[in-house]
Each structure stands twice: as structure tokens, then as C-alpha cells.
Amino acid sequence: MIPVLPIILAATAACAVTTSLAAVLLLAERYLVKYGKCKLDVNSGDRLIEVKGGKSVLESLKGEGIFIPSACGGRGTCAYCKLKITEGGGPVAPTELALLTEQELADNVRITCQVKVRNDMSLLVPEHLLSAGEYRGVVERITDLTHDIKNLRIRLTEPERIKYRPGQYIQLEAPAYGDNPEAVYRAYSMSSMPDEDNCIELIIRLVPGGICTTWVFTMLAEGDEVRFNGPYGDFHLSETDREMVWIAGGSGMAPFWSMVRHMAAHGIARKTTYFFGAVRAADLFLLDELRKLDDQHEWFTFVPALSAPADEDKWYGETGLITDVVGRHVPDGSQAEVYLCGSPGMVDAAGRVIEAKGIPPERVFFDKFG
């Protein structure tokens, strides 16, 4: 015979204990975790928003349409979501300490995914982030530029138009797949022209083992829906008439490919020399298009250079490290502005050459990526 009574009693006891615990927790949540409405003052009265307290600053801002770049998804590891919280930030959490310098701590810079909204706050959000939004689009075309660099063209669906400045970047969402349980966001500069505002193009180089690039190279197909947010970044043409020196390597091409076509289309005739570095001829791309622009426009000079050309490359152009090539071509850059885009190693090396040439740091703009 099945012992009915003990089973019923055991089940009742277990249910009673768990239910009463759940009730206690619900009550506690209702009466303890109650911060009510909190006011967030963005950029000294520029935007006043009211949010329900209890969530992180990063999430609360996202809910109000203000997208702060974050690569780790709010786990307090990437430190991209730094913002100045001038009032109401509360004590600094131990999870923030490792990510902030002494200077940043003194300046009230905080890791916004680790700061909860518990009361009214005042914070400073860089102007360009306020215009960033969330977009959906459909992959229109994927083309190979080299053996490990692809061009991704995305047609926007929701919203249908985007406004940005040449040189700015977006954050592409790679959805969860395989061993990656969560979506990740990676930054890519637009290589397209802002005039064509219903499409964006990105130049993506395969990073071995990279979550987002592996997804783009092996899974993403034409017709797939993608999401991204942006635009971000202050790497764009300055408001001056100074001569410009551009230095790029690999997929660092993207912002300059956007800038040069924008300048040509809008008749911005600033003297510009574009140095594009790669290892072998197989790593170069868009050469014909850029040489054509060089021929058509007096103000634009294109200098591709290879650091280690092989014999079969039949390379008659510049050789050597891109930093040496720049040294040979720009004898006096003291009046020029310098724009750098490429791997951290390349940008740092180029930065040292430029410093040696006496160009003041405020006239050097760079876009480093990992």
C-alpha cells in the first residue's frame, strides 16, 4: 500500500516552509528595496529624467534611451561605462575600485553598471552619447576585402535612418551562441558615408578566438537581422583648416574611407596625406579606389606601405614600418593635425614618432582598438 498520509504531510510541510519564506522575501522586497522615484539630472539640467530606483545607473539610463557603451554587459569588468556622477553616487563599491585610477576617483568618475540608483543624482554624460540610440537592420551584403577582413553592409529597418559624423563608431551586438551564454557588444567604425543615411558599412577583421568577429565570419549571412547601438566617439574631422596626416593599419581603414569620400563629396579640400600600412600585399585593400581619389583631387595623397613585402608581391611602393614611412614623407608636421587608427601597438608606436616630430598632443586624434 502506498503511504498516502506521510506523502501528503511531507509535501504540505515542504510547501508551507517554502511559501512562507517566499512571502517573507516578497514583503521584504516590497518594504525594504523601495527607493521610489529618483530624479537623474543629466549635464546640469540639460535633461531631467525620472526613473524607478533600485536598478543600476547604466540600466536606468538605457531605459530612458541614453546608451552608454558597455562591452561586458554590466558585470563590472570592461570599465567602458565610466561616467562622472557629481552628486548622489554614494560610496564607491569594491568592484569599482580596481577599475578606477586615483585621479578618476578624485573626479567622481564611477563605473555606472556598479552604481545603483538609490536617490536623486547628478551626472555628466558626454554630448555625443546623448544622441546615440538603438538600431535594427538587415545584412544586405558581406564582401571579402582580404583573406581576413570583410566588409559588412547593413540596411537599417528600425529606425530607418541614422545621423553620424565620419569617423564615429557603433556597437554591434553578437547574440548568444555556442559557449557564449550572453550577447556581447563590439565597437566598429562606420566606413560608409553619412549622406547615405539608411545604410551603414563596417570593416571587420577576423580576430582568432574573438566572439563577435567569429560570429560575423562563420554564422552571419546576408538577410540576417542584426542590432547595434550608437553612434559614439569623438574621432572625427576637426573644425579647422589645418593640413592632416592620417595613419591607419588593417581594418583601421574604416573611418578614413568614410572621411575621404565625405570630404570629396562636400568639397572639403583640406590637404591630407593618408598612410595605410600592412605586412604583405595580400593585406591591402581598396587600393584602386583610393589611388583614383588621389588622382582626382589635388589635396589628397595616398601612401600605401608594406612592412615586409614578399618577392612575389612585386611591390614597388613604400616599404618599412609605417612610422618610418611617415617620417620620410612628412619632414615638418609642426602645423599638421594627426589622425591615427589601428591596433594599440601601431597607434602607440606612431604616437611616439609624432611626439618626436613636435606635434602637440592636442592636435593628435586617435582611435585604438584591440
Binding site: P3, L5, P6, L9, A10, A13, A14, V17, T18, L21, A22, V24, L25, A28, E29, L32, V33, G90, P91, V92, A93, P94, T95, R118
Partner: protein, 216 residues
Amino acid sequence: MTAMFAETAAQLSPSPGLWIVLISAALTDNILLTRFLGMCPFLSISKQLKSAFGMGLAVMVVTGFTCVLNYLLYIYVLLPLTPYGVPAESLKLILFIVVIAGFVQLLEMVIERISLKLYFSLGIFLPLITVNCAILGASLFMVNNVAGKGYDGWDVLVYGFGAGAGWFLAIMLMAGIRHRIAGGKVPAGLQGVGITLIITGIMAMAFTIFQGMIRT
């Protein structure tokens, strides 16, 4: 019913006294070094003294309170049901886990509410120990001690905090040792967890010295 049980237990073996309970829970029966329970946070959080302190304190507080809660649950809910055929021994495992998880959540909310300073030094470790097996282990051993050694409510309170204090002591010792060897040359294959486990083994051997302190 409960009184009857308590009476029988008291007749079997009288409570050994609070000092003995404390010392045996913290030292001779150190939950980490003799049972090897709660190893994951012990290995990962013992890198820095400061975080080890917060973690150890959190484990101590939670072990202490959940032991008492689970004692009440065992004595007043599970034991009275045994005559009707309810298997208290199996049921306690499930219910103890639920009580611990619920208590940790509640404690986190309360601490965050009363003091942000305390929350940042102690509270952020709480979600990490919801499923710390040392805490469940302490509750289960507590039941054995109630039945076998005649622990009463006060003994259980002291036992819970004592077991937590033992864990606290172990992680603080380890954090201190790791701090000292941080600059030393550890062979590549042993760096991090490897050397920590070996040191834990040596510490466990050292702790056997306390075995003679209490006659059981």
C-alpha cells in the same frame, strides 16, 4: 512531543558546555580544514586579505543564523512529523537549502537598506555564498550533534557561529599566507589554485594538533 525529545536527548548525553561546543566547532572540527567544505570561495577569494575578511565574516554570520533557523525548523516542524511516517532525514536536505537561500537574500536586502558601508564590505559577498556547501554542511552536522551530543538551542547558536568562525579563521590564515608568497617564485604549473590547495593540505595537517584538546 518536542519536550519529550529534548528530555530523552538530555538523558542520553548532557550538553557538553558552550566553550567546548565553540572550540570543537571552530578548531578541532574546522569545517574547511577537516571536512574540506566551502572550498570554492576559499580558493578564489583568499587572494586579498580585505576581501577574505568580508567573505569570512559573511560566511560566519550566515552559518550562525541559518543553523539556528534550521534547528527551529527541524525541532518544531520536521521531528513532530516523523511519527506519521514523514522522512525527516531526506526532507531536511531540501528544506535546509531553501532556508539558507532565502535567508541570504533577505540578509542582503536588509544590509543594503541599513548601511551602505556594511553592504559594500560584507553584502556584496552574500550572493556568492548562497550555495556555499560549508553552510549547508554546518546545518546538517548540527542535526547530528543535536541527536548525538545533545546540543540544545544555545549550543546550536554557538555551534553555528563557531563553525563559521572556523571558516573565517581558515580563509584569513590562507589570505595571509598567499599575501606572503605573492612575490615568491612558484613553479608555473602550481601558480594560483595549485599551490593554494597544497598549502590547504599542510594547514589541515597542522590543525590536527587541536584534536587532543577535547575528549570525545
